[in-house]
Symmetry: D2
Subunit: 313 residues, 4 copies
Amino acid sequence: MSCPLPVPLTGIVPPLCTPLTHEGEIDTAGLRALAQRLVRAGARALFALGSSGETAYLSDVQRDTVLRTVVEAADGEVPVLAGVIDMTTPRVLDQARRAVDAGADALVATAPFYTRTHPVEVAGHFRRIRAAVPLPLFAYDIPVAVHHKLAAATVLELAEDGTLAGLKDSSGDDGALRRLLVSLRQRGLLERFSVLTGSELAVDGALLAGAHGVVPGLGNLDPDGYARLYAHARAGRWREAAEEQDRLAALFALTDVGPEDTMGRNSSAIGAFKAGLRLLGVIDCAATAPPQVPLDATAVKRVGALLEEAGLL
Amino acid sequence: MSCPLPVPLTGIVPPLCTPLTHEGEIDTAGLRALAQRLVRAGARALFALGSSGETAYLSDVQRDTVLRTVVEAADGEVPVLAGVIDMTTPRVLDQARRAVDAGADALVATAPFYTRTHPVEVAGHFRRIRAAVPLPLFAYDIPVAVHHKLAAATVLELAEDGTLAGLKDSSGDDGALRRLLVSLRQRGLLERFSVLTGSELAVDGALLAGAHGVVPGLGNLDPDGYARLYAHARAGRWREAAEEQDRLAALFALTDVGPEDTMGRNSSAIGAFKAGLRLLGVIDCAATAPPQVPLDATAVKRVGALLEEAGLL
Amino acid sequence: MSCPLPVPLTGIVPPLCTPLTHEGEIDTAGLRALAQRLVRAGARALFALGSSGETAYLSDVQRDTVLRTVVEAADGEVPVLAGVIDMTTPRVLDQARRAVDAGADALVATAPFYTRTHPVEVAGHFRRIRAAVPLPLFAYDIPVAVHHKLAAATVLELAEDGTLAGLKDSSGDDGALRRLLVSLRQRGLLERFSVLTGSELAVDGALLAGAHGVVPGLGNLDPDGYARLYAHARAGRWREAAEEQDRLAALFALTDVGPEDTMGRNSSAIGAFKAGLRLLGVIDCAATAPPQVPLDATAVKRVGALLEEAGLL
Amino acid sequence: MSCPLPVPLTGIVPPLCTPLTHEGEIDTAGLRALAQRLVRAGARALFALGSSGETAYLSDVQRDTVLRTVVEAADGEVPVLAGVIDMTTPRVLDQARRAVDAGADALVATAPFYTRTHPVEVAGHFRRIRAAVPLPLFAYDIPVAVHHKLAAATVLELAEDGTLAGLKDSSGDDGALRRLLVSLRQRGLLERFSVLTGSELAVDGALLAGAHGVVPGLGNLDPDGYARLYAHARAGRWREAAEEQDRLAALFALTDVGPEDTMGRNSSAIGAFKAGLRLLGVIDCAATAPPQVPLDATAVKRVGALLEEAGLL
């Protein structure tokens, strides 16, 4: 049921939420339903075990269950990218081997975190992963989690020597992204190195700048919106792309429904995505993993109102 | 020689470099030549005493000289925005009064820095400035200097109650900018509140998102490039806008010509802008203010090469 | 009325609060009373225009008034150190020249802020100040305000070549301070280079580690406590020193009396110091400079209770 | 072979390095030798799988091996604390259960990292761990790794309700530590809540302030030095304690032997500890885990010189 990764990978690659039961176990039925919904909406690949998938909150056994379920649901129709998120190289290698066993088509790894790591060591980290595991490798640039930004020089070096198949850029630094895209183009690397933006609120601009695709957390709720945005952009209908993006940016307000004085921004965003999926009938239970605080009734009501405003309910 | 500020202010608003003599004094002839060059290239307003203008390195007397020179050079053809950059409200008020005396048409102030300031206090800061000085006021969101980001709620509140005439967003956070633009539009404020991006490498995306204009440091060197970019965008020629932006992003590599082990990034960027202006014949001396380290000959040569690649030399 | 600086400077060097009138002007009578109280309590020098003195909130004219008032009150009995806080070298030089005119006996300058500055440039910054102004110069290491820490190598280099007469360390990094003290001792510099800690809650440990003195904001309220702490430490009564420090650490809770949801930590701390000085009868008005939010009645009451617990009221 | 944890735990609790073979496997003989050396030197407990133990770089299987080896070597003479370092509650619970199986006597957990977590959620995190695992639990406050500091209010709350048995404070914020110690004493909690400092360069000051003990990475190399420091402090010989600390602070220079342009500070410090252990004949191989860059010959030579200066070689 594997599916080779297009080179370069383009289009909408949603980072799947991970539905949980009230007991905190993986809701495999809900996850399958979500995966199939996203494929039907035109996702070019599925990204399991990313930040939107609460990967930081899942045990290794749960991660395996998630990945096997998504691979099965994708059914060879689209490739499955697997987040292999852990602190340093040896631990990421363990995650990577499990992901291979579970049927992943490509891997997505961050730079080391928790430790203080030199750019030379960051490059070595990705090289060791690529050498050890026979799957295309994406670098995941997410300073909000990892607390340092991938150096452009490192990305270019690893793109050039074939270590990396692509980049998922969740840095939110669109100026740096533009310079990277220009450098990749100057070196003739854009044909084989995929740049996917995780900045789900400026997708029109990122596509205009030459990014290949987008990994939108909000795409769990409105995959059709992102599919339309992408289609408009590819057809050169930039004004229509921007309008679609504006609608999605307004909907994104749901990530802030949780009160700031009692819960983290992670919990608010993930809680809102899941509350929305439940309201849309995709999943049965909106539970998030501990220690995240659940949304209260007022917040859930606000999610519903925003889904209505966006025309989804 | 004053010039009323268009409402909203749109287009290219270059933040002028401040040419200095070898003795460290303001080169008023060079500054005048630069200002006139930018107006000729289609600048809709001039922004004096911003970060590109080394305002943090200029004494109060020098700031006055800069502002008077730019106001005189603008000659009432375009409005002059003046940075009034200081640590907290009382000191900014002193800067603001001097700027009024020197003939500024509008003021640009950051949130307090050096101190730890609550959002409630940040709002009070802008309100006091606006109440004390009879000029339109722009908020300057520049976390890299001020070390916190302006809260969207604060900007919306101050846009709604008329405290602020606009925002210069140098946060580089294009997702947050998109959400702000959507919120301003929902409240009907985009007709009177100007949003100018300082992210000079993603101007096409920012204009597509609805920003009114751009304040590009690189516009000191290539004002025609930004003028073309803006014209393409306004005419809906987004592909051409993106190509122009790509060329400018490649040119931006000149900000990194200074070696990282012996000089700061500020010095490298400002030094490169000034070295370029000298190579282009706009100014006579590329000196930067202390304690900035000057570019070495290798770096200056690289600036020249990049100007050539960009078709400017 | 000048007073030569002891080499090295030792003991308690309180950073004076700046009393303000209800109209926001300098309350020179209150400031004089405060200065005299501190000298009577055994201060070895007075530090005017530091962070506790709201220097970031004072205009240049107000800074002059403060410094002249403190110099006059010190009356040649103890030296007066003057903060010369501004963004970069040229602006600090202006502050320094004014401080010389106002009668300062030594200067205290931070590294550049607002800008991004390389360690090489930071060293050049202090060298230029020292070269231009004929007064002993202290480096003020305050990362919470300046957003980078002075490199130990820079401090050692500037201590060795005589640029700096000392360091005021408000970094709170006592491990780094210990390594610096050991390095200074190894180079034989502790006889002429003063190390003053601004970490007012770990003074016993800092003196045990070899620091020469302390610059305690809380010393505005309880100068006798810090004098006793210092005397105990110099006499080797470390247990008694620690008990005094414990009492002062408990009193320090007054810096947190302001509610976190409506005011900054700066405003809370400075407001509490001033409310305490008013309750102690040293000054008449506890106003703080804008845009700081004033303490409410509940907070002021809590200040009083803490002063009582500490035996000061 | 278990050993009950003293209440409160006091004294030297070294965080063991993890010797590795050239092939990257756990060198159990070396680890046993190290553990026994530390117990002989008077360690009151052993801390396995902390930052000095490269826990972030070890696979789960390797972590098990480390912990079983240390428990076996401790042989019931001293308790073994086990780091259970992972991103969030569910993953830490897995680590905790494995640590119980391997024979740990107490657990040491950080706040969640990689995710953005609210203080309310941080408290819930520790409560869930304590509820699920029948071992005393220490909070590990290490902002340099986790990127936020544990709030004092959270620690006090969890000390008071019995969730936490103690704190390992590697924040380096000795002012905050002093306030915490004063608050714990005011509530009568210091008899049952252990405060261990990880600031190995200011141990004299921390003990003077009331801390119960210390967790010094440098104690791997010089356990006798820390034992003497602790004995001096407990006997009130503060001057002698400070001199011992000064010697250890000078030795700490070995953490900086690795060149900054080619390796991370983690790699330099851990590499130096291990190079030193090899020079001292405790272990056979100084390898560090990938992606850490190994020390070059010059750096290793410098380690030797520093060990000689400190009288250890």
